[in-house]
């Protein structure tokens, strides 16, 4: 039975569809135009300092000095963190107490953070107070005193508190970076309490690092919500104090990044974390498919109380308490696409297996068209919301400025995201699986799988982390009976363990080389004992040492 209203409704809809086709089309054009002009940062130069600014005319301003001083550039461990903690401390003009109280009175917020590439000293405040905070930032950069007592009483204290907060997930991410890039980008974002900093970090080294960092060629100013005219007017006055070149005895570690890959396993009680990382897209790369792939893997829910329907959230769905998310860490000359999984050990293992399966399924081309368009929409939203809201956009813009590039052109980036197709994604996933992965596991190593178990590209190229770890374990297993035995025997055990962990072809060569024909004799009371072959004596001693422990 069809009611009258249903019939008429169809007609109405059909009519409306025709008549509104035009307006709908116009509307979509309008939307496109709105996307085409989101507030990108405009680069300028004030008093020799690189400045990027945008002004939406809002009542608040975010002003940040972004310095090329992240952990990858520090010449000695801990300096970036030290410099971050020294921000807004005593300067030659006023005390730290006065700085804090005055900005409180003005309703401003002062923060100092760092990433692997940039050190960010930021002030958020009401629009009218621009001159005060501009002066403050240039003062912090050029006139901080770096006193001994502040280092002992405040900087180190704050560091210990922050080190206590480092969790398994961030430790795993640091490990993944360190196996992926070794030095530079591989140095830890925050040095753990086990890192020896004593010989490297003091108020003197921090002060000379500050001299190396805070000069006009090495820093940039990013302003969000400040009028360009005001900025240049006050900038001219206050930026004079900033030196134009470094006069420090320390220089930044500016070596280019190189991807290595490998595996790192850290035993840790409590929470478990697992990071699978592949070479990703850098800031200068034009690889929109990596952003879309990240969005496709996803993991973070867009709706409350659900983790969503992205591939990683599906992978984690079967294991309660496990969270998994994908992220592309883009740096100026390298990128790292990471999948971070954390939670109970069993669930982490299962999710890691499922996550690798998910990437393989993308590489096999079993992607539906809806999945791709969903991922593109998601990637677009991420990009736009990041550039719109404060924080991340400011840091990214500053990092690009000091790296010598231009601020991100949001409109062009959105357009390139739209050009991603299923085939491109498939190719990207394939190249990920073909490249050498970096895998870091932190937690219960009895349960957490090895990279090879997950079916990732074999890590044993010739001899790397994996085989070295085997050798270390072998040496340790033999260490107890070896304690009172000779150095020769220790060498033999170590060499044997290394040889065993090589690939077959290389092992044969090495073992041939390992054949020694050395004889030795013990001298007792001035008389020579019976000459023995070293190899035979070693084997006999090992059998003897292993005998009682195995019985």
């Amino acid at each position: 039975m069809i009611s009258r209203s249903t019939v008429t409704r169809g007609c109405q809809l059909a009519l409306r569809g025709q008549s509104c086709a035009q307006t709908a089309q116009r509307r979509s054009f309008a939307a496109a135009a709105a996307i085409g002009t989101p507030g990108s940062f405009e680069p300028t130069e004030i008093a020799g300092l690189k400045v990027a600014s945008k002004d939406a005319g809002g009542p608040t301003t975010r002003l940040a000095i972004v310095a090329k001083a992240g952990t990858r550039y520090q010449p000695l461990p801990g300096l970036t963190v030290g410099l971050e903690e020294f921000a807004f401390k005593n300067t030659t003009k006023r005390t730290a107490l006065r700085i804090v109280r005055e900005s409180e009175l003005l309703g401003g917020q002062l923060t100092a953070t760092h990433t692997r590439e940039a050190l960010v000293i930021q002030a958020n405040f009401l629009r009218n107070d621009l001159p005060y905070f501009l002066e403050l930032l240039s003062e912090v950069v050029s006139q901080t005193k770096y006193t001994t007592f502040e280092f002992n009483e405040q900087v180190q204290h704050a560091m210990h508190l922050k080190q206590a907060k480092i969790n398994a997930a961030s430790l795993a991410l640091d490990s993944a970076h360190s196996v992926a890039f070794h030095t530079g980008l591989g140095s830890a974002l925050y040095p753990s309490s086990a890192t020896p900093l004593g010989p490297y970090m003091s108020e003197h080294t921090i002060a000379s690092y500050a001299e190396a960092v805070y000069n006009k060629g090495n820093i940039s100013l990013v302003a969000d919500g400040a009028a360009q005219s005001q900025l240049s007017k006050w900038g001219e006055t206050f930026f004079k104090a900033i030196p134009s070149a470094s006069s420090s005895d320390l220089s930044l570690n500016t070596a280019a990044s190189k991807y290595f890959g490998g595996e790192s396993r850290t035993s840790r009680p409590g929470a478990n974390a697992y990071v699978i990382a592949f070479p990703g897209a850098s800031l200068s790369d034009n690889k929109p498919e990596i952003s879309v792939l990240t969005a496709l893997l996803g993991g973070e829910g867009n709706v409350k109380w659900t983790t969503g329907f992205s591939l990683l959230s599906k992978a984690a769905a079967g294991s309660p308490g496990v969270s998994a998310s994908a992220h592309n860490h883009a740096y100026s000359d390298a990128g790292l696409l990471t999948i971070s999984i954390s939670g109970p050990s069993g669930g982490v293992k299962k999710t890691a297996e499922e996550a690798v399966k998910a990437i393989k399924s993308i590489a096999d081309g079993s992607l539906s068209k809806e999945d791709v368009s969903k991922a593109i929409a998601n990637a677009k939203f991420n990009l736009l919301s990041v550039s719109e809201t404060s924080g991340t956009g400011i840091i990214a813009t500053g990092a690009q400025l000091i790296a010598g590039g231009k601020p991100l052109d949001v409109a062009a980036a959105v357009k390139s995201l739209e050009s991603v197709t299923a085939d491109k994604l498939k190719a990207a996933a394939k190249s990920l699986l073909e490249s050498k992965a970096s895998v870091a596991s932190v937690g219960d190593l009895y349960v957490l799988p090895y990279a090879e178990d997950l079916g990732l590209k074999a890590l044993r190229e010739s001899i790397d982390c994996f085989s070295l770890r085997c050798s270390a374990q072998d040496v340790l297993a033999n260490a107890v009976p070896l304690l009172e035995s000779s150095y020769n025997r220790y060498l033999a055990v170590a060499a044997r363990a290394v040889r065993r962990s090589l690939k077959d072809d290389k092992r044969l060569i090495a073992e041939r080389r390992g054949d020694t024909d050395l004889r030795f004799a013990k001298w007792e009371n001035g008389k020579q004992g019976e000459p023995k072959s070293l190899v035979e004596a070693n084997t006999a001693a090992m059998v003897e040492a292993a005998g009682p422990s195995s019985s």
Partner: protein, 123 residues
Amino acid sequence: MPASLAPFIAARPWLLKLFKPAAAWYANAASYRQLGLYADDLVSEENEDVLKALKRLPPRQSYDRVFRIRRATQLSLQQKILPRADWTKPEEDKPYLGPLLAVLEAESKEREALDTLTVLKNH
């Protein structure tokens, strides 16, 4: 803090010239130098600022200070003074705690001032 004429005198060279011999005589007559002490060793420790300043001393200075005080205590018990060669020389007797204390006192003064300030709106 007791009022002091010292800054007033130090700012005027002719006054300083007049007072310096008298001050030097007084410092020697105070007889702490005969026990091997410095003037800053006499600052009373029963004070939050002084305790904090003592913590900020470099390790070497802190060690030397403890040594001087222990030696002086021992001498005082024995009713002796040091041999003349070991007396504190006037050029050694420099303020080492004073500058640290000045920073701390300035900080507490500033804190006090900021805690009791009145905000004047400029509109």
